[in-house]
């Protein structure tokens, strides 16, 4: 099942890239499509942040992940680069797991 997911999502994402290269720009260049495509990552990434921070299956919980993400926000506000953000969150959560 994991392999199927890996291969299907890879094929689909490649076809999206290829479509842009090969397609006459008629419908993709519509301003509406462009706006939606620009906002799509914002919506999905925001949703993923919440789901991954508070979700365990179908329940919302407050645990070490929330503390890690809170620290990540602080580090982002200090304009730290991406790897620092990820490591700061991981270290926070790891420390809380030790307590």
């Amino acid at each position: 099942m994991i392999w199927a997911t890996v291969l299907i999502s890879s094929l689909g994402c490649f076809l999206l890239k290829y479509a842009g290269m090969a397609m006459p720009d008629a419908w993709l260049s519509s301003p509406r499509v462009q706006r939606i495509a620009n906002l799509m990552p914002v919506a999905l990434l925001s949703a993923l942040v919440i789901a991954q921070t508070f979700g365990v299956g179908q329940t919302l919980v407050l645990d070490a992940r929330a503390a890690g993400v809170a620290v990540a926000i602080v580090v982002l506000l200090l304009r730290a680069p991406f790897p620092v953000v990820v490591v700061a969150a991981a270290v926070t959560s790891a420390l809380l797991h030790r307590l």
């Binding site: 099942m1 994991i2 997911t5 890996v6 299907i8 999502s9 890879s10 689909g12 994402c13 490649f14 999206l16 890239k17 290829y18 479509a19 842009g20 290269m21 090969a22 720009d25 993709l28 509406r32 499509v33 706006r35 939606i36 620009n38 906002l39 799509m40 990552p41 914002v42 919506a43 999905l44 990434l45 925001s46 949703a47 993923l48 942040v49 919440i50 789901a51 991954q52 508070f54 979700g55 299956g57 179908q58 329940t59 919302l60 070490a64 992940r65 890690g68 993400v69 990540a72 982002l76 680069p81 991406f82 790897p83 953000v85 990820v86 969150a89 991981a90 926070t92 959560s93 790891a94």
Partner: protein
């Protein structure tokens, strides 16, 4: 703007250096992806397959972000999330096609490395003409490809060797990675509104809807906001 002016050597070297240093920095994130993949039950080969075949960071995190894929609904969620996040690459392709003017296998290769970074570097060379844009695209795209895949394998093997992911805080690293990807996109009122709407959607739906549905439902926020007006961006 579409001039075929020759690219001076010093500019070519500068573009190579800029492209490769960006590629290395971005490639480092591959370690986080490899580790996240491992904590979601992917083998190092499956993690590497995603980096080599899918090759688009946010979409890859979406696949491993659903957790351990044990049922078809979870697989569909992972695939749908990856595709929705991959839609912007189609727009990059559209932008790059007239610049690259490639056919056949070369077009397949170009399509595979059409991502945020290669398109970004290419477009920022616009004042230097088409050869500079093409050079920026290929150097950056191929550079990210090599570094991203290498660091993915490193991260996956490393996390596998370490054991329990939560003990090393990897459970918090995944949402933090999403947040890091989201942060630069939160410029202006519309993105903030879309982000908040998506967040609230998940908080409301998560306890009631089947796993995966809340995240996919958040796409509606982007469609509604994008459909309405072109004013604020």
């Amino acid at each position: 703007m579409n001039q075929e002016v020759e690219l001076p050597d010093n500019e070519r070297r500068r573009i190579t250096r800029d492209g490769l240093s960006l590629a290395f920095t971005v490639g480092l994130y591959g370690t986080a992806f490899g580790a996240a993949a491992s904590s979601s039950g992917l083998s190092p080969w499956q993690a590497l397959a995603l980096s080599a075949l899918l090759f688009s960071g946010a979409s890859q995190f979406a696949v491993v972000g659903v957790g351990v894929i044990t049922s078809w609904p979870l697989a569909v969620t992972a695939i749908t999330g990856a595709l929705l996040l991959g839609t912007r690459n189609a727009l990059y392709g559209l932008r790059m096609a007239p610049i690259l003017q490639v056919r056949g296998l070369k077009r397949v290769a170009a399509a595979q490395i059409t991502i945020d970074e290669s398109t970004g570097v290419a477009i920022s060379q616009e004042h230097l003409g088409l050869p500079a844009m093409r050079h920026g695209f290929w150097v950056t795209g191929l550079g990210v490809y090599v570094f991203w895949n290498s660091f993915t394998l490193l991260g996956a093997l490393g996390a596998d060797a370490l054991g329990d992911p939560a003990q090393f805080g990897l459970d918090a690293a995944v949402p933090a990675a999403f947040l890091g990807l989201l942060w630069p996109r939160l410029k202006g009122r519309t993105p903030w509104a879309v982000g908040m709407a998506a967040a609230i959607t998940v908080l409301i739906l998560l306890p009631h809807a089947p796993v995966g549905v809340p995240v996919i439902s958040s796409a509606v926020a982007a469609v509604i906001a994008g459909w309405k007006n072109g004013g604020a961006k």
